[in-house]
């Protein structure tokens, strides 16, 4: 059993290296290595899943010295196992899909090596027993994400997007690192399970726990693209779509939620869940409203990802681990489906991403449109698709919790129903109606069934199929059922609003597109449109703040200190060293006689040292 787990950790790294080296011989070999390795990983995870009886707990030490030790352990329980299944299963489908999507790229070895490296980081993160291995996996993914977003680094935008992603997530990571330091100082342990146990037993001061919980949550915000650290997620759409699907839809962005879920007892004891729910609600609202007006296919999905991850955060924040994690699982699958479907459309449309140039593509790629419709229905929350159950549970939980029932529940509700609007807008604009760019439309071909459509259909089937097993999933992930507080009328209210929104979108975006454009031309609508389109100008504010305040004043002060004080000291050291060097150099001559003289003096010095040492 244990050796399988180690294989799970090591195989992606070895695979990455192999894919790179073999890929240099023949670029197709890189794909086959990645396909084989990711399939093996999935099979290994399935094996773990089938044989699962109790949490697997392997304590190891990276490095220990006396009573100070740095742990590096593995812990796989139900929660980790589900995350592992998502990471390896979707990872495999994603690699499979990339066969065609990346077929014409000259740098395939690099691509597959990075993807495998990324999967390895994710596996390390979710099977971590302690903060150190978790942090290592967290940073591995950060690096992999940066490398993959800027995969086409010859162009300016992807390169900038990579840097942006790196900086935004790094900002969060500083807080995670600080949290690890504080935790070690406070509790002398970095073991996640032990932290939970200590928190339950009330052994740590609540105020200090609150600080740590907030610090960790800031890191989670950065990684999961939540308010206010989300702009990188939208820019990350410059990367290959397969990367967006895997990293920015299905796996890496989940790690922020995973870390909160992993330390759920800690958060409960720290009374920090309200913070989680509040930031989640704001992000959910921003994401859902901004997604309404985006032009680019992938940007809609990016904002939708932000909004739905926030829903999972709200689920956790309202106190229901089951609701939050079930939504996370459902979201991972239908979002990967939507992203890959979008990838198929973009690939077939000669890498155009603008939805306004699509339209009527349903006729050319019927299976893709059906698969995406499944994803869209699940995302909108239509029963019996999986998304319905978890979203319903989150809204109900947020309404039932007295702490969140006011503003937070309202924002959650709005974000929840708006998802039906933006996703139906996306689907109608792409697949329904008449085409708006005939030249482009002519070039569109049906995608390959085995490489492109099959993974989509698998995920579409899954998202439908999982709808019937929501109770089991919730039970498995969190150990408690989706304890949905019964709120009369919520079910029908939700459904009718969603249906109504769907109809409105259908009317305005398919039947009467002309009216929509006229409405959009009004000054007030235009202003709102600009605000939403730019994500409430959060990125602008952050840049302004950084440039004017951080760089303008703090950095300048530090620079002055560096030049006038630190450098002066360093230069002083150099001239001092030079003096010592010159004097010492005189001692060392090339003559053997001088050497023996020095030895004689040396023996005298040593005897003297012994004498003094004996006296003391």
């Amino acid at each position: 059993m244990n050796s399988f787990v180690f294989l799970l950790l090591i195989l992606p790294m070895v695979g990455a290296l192999l894919a790179f080296i073999l890929g240099k011989l023949n670029s197709r070999l890189a794909f086959w290595t990645a396909e084989f390795v990711s399939l093996t990983l999935f099979v290994l995870t399935l094996k773990l899943f089938v044989e699962y009886t109790q949490p697997l707990d392997i304590a190891m030490h990276w490095f220990s010295l006396g009573d100070f030790s740095i742990p590096f352990g593995i812990y796989i329980d139900q929660l980790s196992l589900v995350m592992l299944l998502i990471a390896t299963g979707l990872g495999f489908l994603d690699v499979h899909f990339a066969h065609d999507y990346m077929a014409e790229d000259p740098h395939q070895p690099r691509y597959y090596a990075k993807v495998l490296f990324f999967i390895g980081g994710m596996i390390l993160l979710v099977s971590a027993k302690d903060m150190i291995s978790l942090f290592t996996g967290w940073e591995f993914m950060g690096v992999a994400s940066y490398l993959l977003i800027s995969f086409w680094h010859e162009k300016k935008d992807p390169a900038d997007a990579g840097v942006s992603a790196f900086l935004f997530t790094r900002f969060g990571d500083i807080f995670l690192f600080a949290a690890i330091g504080i935790l070690f100082y406070l509790t002398n342990t970095l073991d996640l399970m032990q932290l939970n146990a200590m928190a339950r037993a009330g052994e740590i001061d609540q105020h200090k726990m609150y600080l740590v919980a907030v610090f960790i949550f800031i890191a989670a915000i950065g990684k999961s693209g939540q308010f206010p650290l989300f702009p990188w997620l939208m820019r990350a759409m410059e990367g290959p779509t397969t990367v967006s699907a895997l990293i920015h839809g299905a796996t890496m962005v989940n790690s922020g939620i995973y870390i909160v879920a992993r330390l759920f007892d800690f958060y409960v004891a720290a009374e920090a869940l309200l913070v989680v729910a509040a930031f989640g609600a704001v992000s959910a609202f921003i994401g859902a409203t901004s997604a309404l007006v985006q032009r680019e296919l992938k940007k809609v999905l990016a904002y939708s990802t932000m909004s739905h991850l926030s829903l999972a955060f709200i689920g956790l924040g309202a106190g229901s681990l089951a609701a939050g994690m079930t939504h996370l699982v459902n979201h991972a699958i239908f979002k990967a489906l939507l992203f890959l479907g979008a990838g198929a459309v973009i690939m077939m449309a000669s890498h155009v991403k603008d939805m306004w140039r699509f339209g009527g593509y349903g006729k050319k790629m019927i299976f893709v449109s059906i698969a995406m419709a499944f994803g869209a229905l699940s995302l909108s929350g239509i029963p019996p698709f999986s998304g319905f159950f978890s979203k319903d549970a989150i809204i109900a939980t947020s309404l039932a919790n007295p702490q969140t029932e006011g503003l937070i529940a309202t924002l959650t509700f709005i974000a929840g129903v708006l998802s039906a609007a933006y996703i139906s807008r996306l689907w109608f604009l792409t697949f329904a109606g008449e085409t708006r760019d005939v030249a482009l439309y002519e070039k569109v071909k049906a995608p390959s069934f085995f490489w492109i459509t099959l993974p989509l259909l698998i995920m579409a089937a899954l998202t439908l199929f999982m709808g019937f097993f929501q109770e089991d999933i919730a039970q498995f992930v969190s150990g408690s059922p989706l304890d949905e507080p019964h709120i009369p009328g919520l079910f029908f209210g939700l459904l009718s609003v969603i249906a109504l929104l769907g109809l409105i979108v259908y009317y305005y975006y398919v039947k009467r597109l002309d009216i929509t454009q006229k409405i959009a031309a009004q000054p007030l609508m235009k202003a709102i449109h600009t605000l939403l389109f730019n994500g409430y100008f959060i990125e602008f504010f952050i840049h302004y703040f950084v440039r004017e305040i951080v760089v303008g004043s703090f950095a300048r002060a530090i620079f002055w200190f560096d030049v006038n004080i630190v450098d002066a000291a360093v230069n002083g050291t150099r001239s001092l060293s030079l003096k010592v060097f010159k004097h010492l150099q005189k001692i060392h001559t090339a003559y053997a006689s001088d050497n023996s003289g020095a030895m004689l003096y040396g023996i005298v010095i040593l005897l003297l040292a012994l004498f003094i040492g004996g006296l003391l």
Partner: protein, 425 residues
């Protein structure tokens, strides 16, 4: 019983027959492969890992080496190293130690240039002196009632103490501790770089580990004798080595002084002899040092032979010429400087921790400052590799894959023990 010593000795004797044939190198490689696996099965637990590492470093060395005669000598050097590591009484220690000195002298006496003559002669004189001191010390020790066939007496008489002191002086020669380092700097910088790699990388490290193994129980009982002696030696040695390396221009000289400075760090393990981590410290340091120092000198050899690079100025812009070799050299230098995630860092961390643990925090502080100082001269080399402009395109005479494989083995050791040392040890 078959020990690595007998295997290497046997292969060494047989290898003379194979000179001038293509079989010699594979033969020697097999010898070290077998020796490593025999160590794995038979060696005592605390030295098993180190013996395997010595075998694998010498394996990499053989991959690099081209001279037939040196390959045979390397086999003998490996044999006497193993003998030294396995020695458990004073007599076997002295015999093994002398055989290691002898083979070292023979190694450098194969001279081709005037510089090499100077280095060889200096080393010969120093070795002769050291042998004299060693036997003088041994005589005193025996006069005091010591036994040859046993380990050092714990309850030493005055004569025994004097004997141990004089023996230690002799060992300071071999370990290149100031003020007995004079020969080392000239020898390491002037003999051929492959020989310098063997002497400063392998022979010295093996000697340190063996000396620690033999003398540690005795010194731990006589702290008022050991601690002041080794504090003086260690502090002077590292400060001296680091300061003199600072403004050198010749890369081999920088490495030679850095080798002296590292001898000072190793002596810290003797300072911390009362701490239970001293044993770990010396082992970490020896493992890290044997990889990085041998690798650095071997790369220097390639640089000299293929690119005619001797001084820092020649090295300017080398990364543009051969980025891979430049990166390998940089990694080893960073490890020597003690940059985290490389073996050198962990070794220093453990050894400094041991010093602090034995209550001498101020010595650890001096060592830390020294270590910070040392970053400067390693960084200067890296700077000239990467951040200077390539002036003249250097001609590359030969590019051998075996030498490159050797470097890969060594760099793998440096990185592996930088990250996973805690898992293994």
């Amino acid at each position: 019983m078959i020990t690595p010593f007998y295997i290497l000795l046997g292969f060494g004797l047989l290898s003379i027959v194979l000179h001038r044939t293509a079989l010699l190198k594979p033969f020697a490689l097999t010898a070290f492969g077998i020796a490593g696996s025999v160590s794995f099965m038979t060696a005592s637990a605390d030295l098993k890992l180190f013996e395997i590492i010595v075998s694998s470093v010498l394996f990499a060395f053989i991959l690099h080496e081209q001279e037939d005669i040196t390959i045979t000598q390397t086999l003998f050097l490996g044999a006497s190293s193993m003998l030294l590591l396995e020695s458990d009484s004073i007599l076997s220690f002295v015999i093994a130690f002398e055989s290691l000195s002898l083979i070292s002298v023979i190694l450098v006496s194969y001279v081709r240039t005037k510089d090499e003559v100077e280095g060889a002669v200096k080393m010969f004189i120093a070795s002769a002196l050291a042998t004299g001191f060693l036997f003088l010390g041994l005589t005193f020790y025996l006069m005091g009632g010591g036994e040859l066939q046993e380990a050092l007496h714990p309850n030493a008489t005055l004569f025994e103490m004097i004997g141990v002191f004089i023996m230690l002086l002799a060992l300071f020669y071999k370990l290149t501790l100031v003020p007995f380092h004079g020969w080392a700097v000239d020898t390491y910088a002037k003999v051929s770089h492959t020989n310098a790699a063997l002497l400063s990388g392998v022979a010295k490290t093996v000697a340190v580990v063996a000396v620690f193994k033999i003398f540690e129980p005795f010194l731990a009982l006589h702290l008022s004798f050991a601690v002041p002696l080794f504090i003086t030696v260690a502090v002077i040695t590292m400060t001296f080595g680091n300061f003199l390396a600072l403004f050198r221009k010749n890369i081999a000289e920088i490495l030679a002084y850095s080798s002296v400075a590292h001898a000072g760090y190793m002596a810290l393990a003797f300072v911390a002899v009362s701490s239970s981590y001293a044993q770990d410290g010396i082992l970490y340091m020896a493992i890290a040092y044997i990889f990085m120092q041998s690798a650095a000198f071997l790369i220097l050899d390639t640089l000299k032979k293929s690119y005619a690079i001797v001084s820092l100025d020649d090295l300017h812009g080398f990364a543009q010429q051969n980025p891979l070799l430049g990166a390998l050299l940089s990694i080893q230098l960073f490890s020597l400087a003690g940059i985290p995630l490389l073996a050198g860092f962990l070794a220093k961390a453990v050894i400094f921790y041991a010093v602090v643990d034995s209550g001498l925090w101020w010595v650890a502080l001096i060592a830390l400052l020294n270590s910070a100082l040392s970053v400067a001269y390693y960084a200067i080399i890296v700077k000239s590799i990467y951040f200077e402009d390539l002036k003249v395109k250097k001609l590359s005479l030969s590019n051998r894959t075996t030498a490159f494989t050797a470097q890969l083995i060594l760099v793998a050791g440096t990185i592996f023990f930088g990250i996973f040392a805690g898992v293994i040890l």
